[in-house]
C-alpha cells in the first residue's frame, strides 16, 4: 500500500470485473425490460389501485415479516447450541441444516404437501413452515460461527452477579449479536418477500406475493405493463429495506480474535438436555420433511426397496420423460455448477475485497447492491435477458452459457457474504509485522493474505456450487438448450403420471440432496474455523 491514490485506483480496478458482471447480466437486463414494458396506462392504474393488488402487497409483507420472525426464533436456539457446544457431528449438523436452503422448490413443495399420512395440503401454514425450512440455514450458519467466537465470560460474570438468563440474553447477548442478527434477518426477509415457488405451489392460488403476481401477469396474461409496475414496486421495497438494514448493520462487529472457538463439550446433564432439545428442534423443523422425502424415495409398490434408485439408470428413450441418461444429467448439473461457481467465486471475491476497502455511504450502497439479485424479480430478469441479448453478435439467447451465468448471479451474493468476514478478519497487525520484519509487499501477500484469500475463494466457490446444483427459479425463464440438470429432470419426472416416474423423481431429489450436503460438508472442512455469514 503506497499512497491513497494508488490504493483507490486498485480498488476501482478490482471492482471492474464484478461491476461489469452485475452491470451486464443483472442491471442492464432489468433496465431494458423496464424500459420496454413500463407504462402507466389507465388499465394499469386501475389494476394497481384495485383491492386485489392491495391485498397482495399486504400478504407479501405480512408473510415475509412472520416468516422472518419465526425463522429467527427457531434459528436462534439451534445456532446457540452449535456455537456453545462441541459435540461429535457438529460439522455435520451445520451442513445438514443448509441442505434445504439449496433444494429446488419443486422438491420441497412435494415434500411439504404431505408428510407421512399428515395432509398439510395447501395452506398458509405450509407456506410459513416451508419458508422457515428453507431459511433457517441463513440464521443458523451466520449466527453460530460468530456466536462461537464471542467470549462467554461476560455472560457468565453477569450470571454470577445474579442476573437471570433472560436478562443476560436481552441485555448482553442480543446486543452483541445484533449486527449479524440484523444481516441474517434482512436476507431472510429478502427471500421471503420475493418468494415465488413456495407460494405458488403451496397455496393453490389462494395466496399471492408480488412476485407470483408478476409471474401471472407477465407469463399467463401477457400484461407486461402491470407486471413491470409490480416488479418495480418489489424492487423499490427491497432496495429500501436493504438501505435501512445496511445503515443499521454498520455497527462494528465484535469478534474476539480469529480462530478462538469458545464451544465446550456439554458437561452436565443440564447442558446435555439443552443441546438435545435444540437438536430436536432442528430435527423437527428440517428433519421431518427431509426424512419423509427419503422415505418416499424408498417406497416402491407398497414395499421398501431401492428400486427407484436403480431405475434411475434405466435407458432413456421413448416413453421415458428423461431424454438423457442419468449420468449425463448429473454431468450437466456438475458442469454448470462448476462454471457458475468459478464465475461467482471470482467476481464475488473481488467484490468482497472492494467492499472491505470502501467506507461510508458508498459502502452501504454497494453492500445493498450485492444482495439485490436475491430480491429482484427473477421473472422480469429472465425476460430482460431475452430482450437484452437479442442482437448479433450478442444474440446469446440460444446459448447454454446463460444458464451458468444466471446461476452465478444467484450465487454471487452468497459468495460475497461468506467471503467478506474472512477477509475482514485478516489482522492488519500481521501484515505490518511481516513488513517490519523485512518482507516485501509480495512476500506479505503470499504469506499473510494469499492463504486466507485462497480459502475464501474455496468456501465461496463451494457455496455457489451448491446453490447452482439446486437452482431452478431464474433459469426456468430462460430459453434453455435441451440439457437436463437434476432440478429440471425432477420437474419433468413430476410432470408424468405413473409410479415409476414418481419414484424416480423422489430418488433423484435425494441424490440432489446428498450432492448438496456433500458440497456443504466440504465447505465446513475448507472453512477451517473461519467466520462467515453463511
Amino acid at each position: 500500500m503506497t499512497g491513497r491514490g494508488t490504493s483507490r485506483r486498485t480498488t476501482v480496478l478490482l471492482g471492474l470485473v464484478p461491476a461489469v458482471f452485475i452491470g451486464v447480466f443483472f442491471l442492464l437486463p432489468l433496465a431494458v425490460i423496464f424500459g420496454e414494458t413500463l407504462a402507466f396506462s389507465r388499465s394499469t392504474v386501475t389494476t394497481l389501485t384495485g383491492s386485489s393488488v392491495r391485498s397482495v402487497v399486504w400478504f407479501t409483507t405480512w408473510q415475509a415479516t412472520v416468516s422472518t420472525a419465526v425463522t429467527l426464533v427457531i434459528g436462534l436456539p439451534i445456532a446457540w447450541a452449535l456455537a456453545r457446544f462441541r459435540f461429535p457431528g457438529r460439522q455435520f449438523v451445520r451442513a445438514a441444516v443448509t441442505v434445504p436452503f439449496v433444494l429446488p422448490t419443486v422438491v420441497v413443495a412435494s415434500a411439504f404437501t404431505r408428510i407421512g399420512s399428515l395432509q398439510i395440503g395447501t395452506s398458509v401454514w405450509a407456506i410459513l413452515w416451508a419458508h422457515v425450512f428453507f431459511n433457517v440455514a441463513v440464521v443458523v450458519r451466520s449466527l453460530s460461527g460468530y456466536w462461537a467466537r464471542l467470549d462467554p465470560a461476560i455472560e457468565e460474570q453477569a450470571r454470577v452477579l445474579g442476573a437471570s438468563p433472560i436478562i443476560v440474553f436481552r441485555r448482553i447477548t442480543l446486543p452483541r449479536l445484533q449486527p449479524v442478527l440484523l444481516s441474517a434477518a434482512a436476507i431472510v426477509f429478502l427471500f421471503t418477500f420475493s418468494s415465488f415457488g413456495v407460494v405458488l405451489l403451496l397455496s393453490g392460488g389462494r395466496r399471492a406475493t408480488i412476485e407470483t403476481e408478476v409471474w401471472r401477469y407477465a407469463t399467463q396474461r401477457t400484461e407486461f405493463d402491470v407486471a413491470a409496475v409490480l416488479a418495480l414496486m418489489q424492487l423499490l421495497v427491497v432496495g429500501a429495506m436493504l438501505w435501512v438494514a445496511g445503515r443499521a448493520g454498520r455497527k462494528q462487529r465484535q469478534v474476539d480474535g480469529v480462530t478462538v472457538d469458545h464451544g465446550v463439550a456439554p458437561a452436565s446433564w443440564r447442558q446435555r438436555t439443552q443441546l438435545g432439545a435444540c437438536l430436536a428442534l432442528a430435527l423437527v423443523v428440517i428433519g421431518i420433511p427431509l426424512v419423509s422425502l427419503v422415505g418416499r424415495s424408498l417406497r416402491s409398490g407398497n414395499a421398501w426397496s431401492a428400486n427407484n434408485y436403480l431405475r434411475l439408470f434405466d435407458d432413456p428413450g421413448p416413453s421415458s420423460p428423461l431424454a438423457e441418461p442419468i449420468w449425463q444429467i448429473g454431468a450437466n448439473s456438475v458442469w454448470f455448477a462448476v462454471l457458475a461457481s468459478v464465475l461467482a467465486a471470482s467476481t464475488g471475491l473481488l467484490a468482497a475485497i472492494v467492499l472491505h476497502r470502501v467506507r461510508g455511504r458508498i459502502a452501504v450502497f454497494l453492500d445493498g447492491l450485492v444482495l439485490l439479485p436475491l430480491g429482484a424479480s427473477a421473472v422480469m430478469l429472465g425476460l430482460g435477458l431475452l430482450l437484452t441479448f437479442d442482437t448479433e453478435p450478442f444474440d446469446w439467447r440460444a446459448s447454454w452459457f446463460l444458464i451458468p451465468v444466471a446461476h452465478a448471479l444467484v450465487g454471487f451474493p452468497f459468495v460475497v457474504r461468506s467471503v467478506l468476514p474472512m477477509i475482514r478478519n485478516i489482522e492488519p497487525g500481521l501484515r505490518e509485522a511481516a513488513a517490519t520484519l523485512g518482507a516485501s509487499p509480495r512476500q506479505v501477500w503470499r504469506s499473510v493474505d494469499e492463504p486466507i484469500v485462497r480459502r475464501a475463494f474455496g468456501v465461496g466457490a463451494g457455496f455457489a456450487f451448491a446453490v447452482s446444483v439446486g437452482e431452478f427459479g431464474a433459469t426456468s425463464f430462460l430459453a434453455r438448450p435441451q440439457r437436463l440438470t437434476m432440478p429440471t429432470a425432477i420437474f419433468r419426472l413430476l410432470g408424468r403420471p405413473g409410479a415409476v416416474t414418481y419414484g424416480q423423481a423422489m430418488a433423484l431429489s435425494v441424490v440432489l440432496m446428498v450432492v448438496t450436503a456433500t458440497a456443504m460438508l466440504l465447505i465446513e472442512r475448507g472453512r477451517g474455523g473461519g467466520v462467515g455469514d453463511f
Binding site: L383, L387, T391, A479, P497
Partner: protein, 351 residues
Amino acid sequence: MPHSGTHKFIRVPSRAIVALIAACGFVLVACGSDVASTTITVVTHDSFAVSDEVIADFEQRSGLTVQFLESADAGTMVSEAILTQGKPIGDVLFGVDNTFLGRALDSGIFRSYKSPALANIPLEFQVDNGNFVTPVDYGDVCINYWVDAFDEPPSSLADLTDSAYEGLFVTQNPETSSPGMAMLLATVAAFGEEGWEDYWEALRANGVAVTSGWSDAYYGEFVGAGGDRSLVTSYASSPVAEVIYADPAIDVAPTAIIEDSCFRQIEFAGVLAGAKNVSGAEQFIDFLLSDSFQNDVPLNMFVYPVSPSATLPEAFVEHSVVPATSATLDPATIEANRSAWTERWVEIVLR
C-alpha cells in the same frame, strides 16, 4: 396494449452499452453467431419430447441441424414470443394450444405457411384458417378416477356435485395450470355462459380441492401416490401412462377416465415471423406432420397424432380411451373471455 412503441428509444443506447461492455471481456460470441441457413432453432414448452433417432433421421434427409430451446409452460412460451416479436428466439415455435392460440394469432407472432401435408389432416383440427399455425397433436383433459375407490364412479361432470362424491375431487387452478384451464372450459362448454358459475359454486359446496399445478394434484392429493382424493383432473392418456410406468408391471390400468368430462386440447406449431431460416422452418413443419414424427408423438408426450395415417403404439391401442365426445370452444372466444372467466372462477372457488 402493453406494447406501445413509445418506449423503444430506451433500448438503443442500452444496446450500445452492451456492445461496449461485452466487447471488453466476454469472448463468448462464437456460440451464437455462426448460425447459417443450415440450422433451425425450434422453441418448445417444457413438456416437449421427441426421440433422438427421429430427429437424426430428419437432419440426415434435410441436411439441416435442429436445435431445440426449451421455455417454461405454454403460456410463458407464448408470452416470451410476444415480447421478442420481430426478433424471435428461434425459427419455429412448437406447442401453442387452442387455449392460447387466440392470443398468439392476435399478436401476429407467426408467418403464414400452408404445409402440403395438411391435405391429409382432418378438418376438425384445422382451426386456423389463415394457416399461421399447423395442428400437430391433440389430447383430452378429462377427470380421472381411481378404479378401486368406486363401486359406482361418477359418469358426468354433473355427477360431481352429488353428495356421494363429496370431498373426493381435486382439480387445478386455471390461472396457473393448463389442465385446470381446460377443465374450466369443459364446464363452460357443458353448462353454458350462464350455468358454469353455478356449477362451480356447487362443486365448492361439495368440497372440491384446488392445487396450482398438475403434479401437486396428481402426486399430492390423488390416491395414486398416497393422497386421499380419488377424482382428479388429468389427461385421457394418464391411464396408459399408469400402465407403462407401473412397477411391478400391471395389465389393467388402476385409473380410468370419465368420458363425459373432457375438453380437447390441440397443439400447434408455426413459423415465427422474423425467422432467420424460413425455408428450413417450413421443412420442419412438414416433418412434424410426417409419419415419422407423428408415430413418435404418443409415447413421448402422451398425446395423439393428428395424422390419420400414423400408427398408434400397442399400449395406446390397448389401454387408452379416446372419449366419444370432447368439448371444444373457439380459440377467439377463449381469448376474449379468458381473463374474465378465470377471475370469476377464482372468486367463486377460492375466495
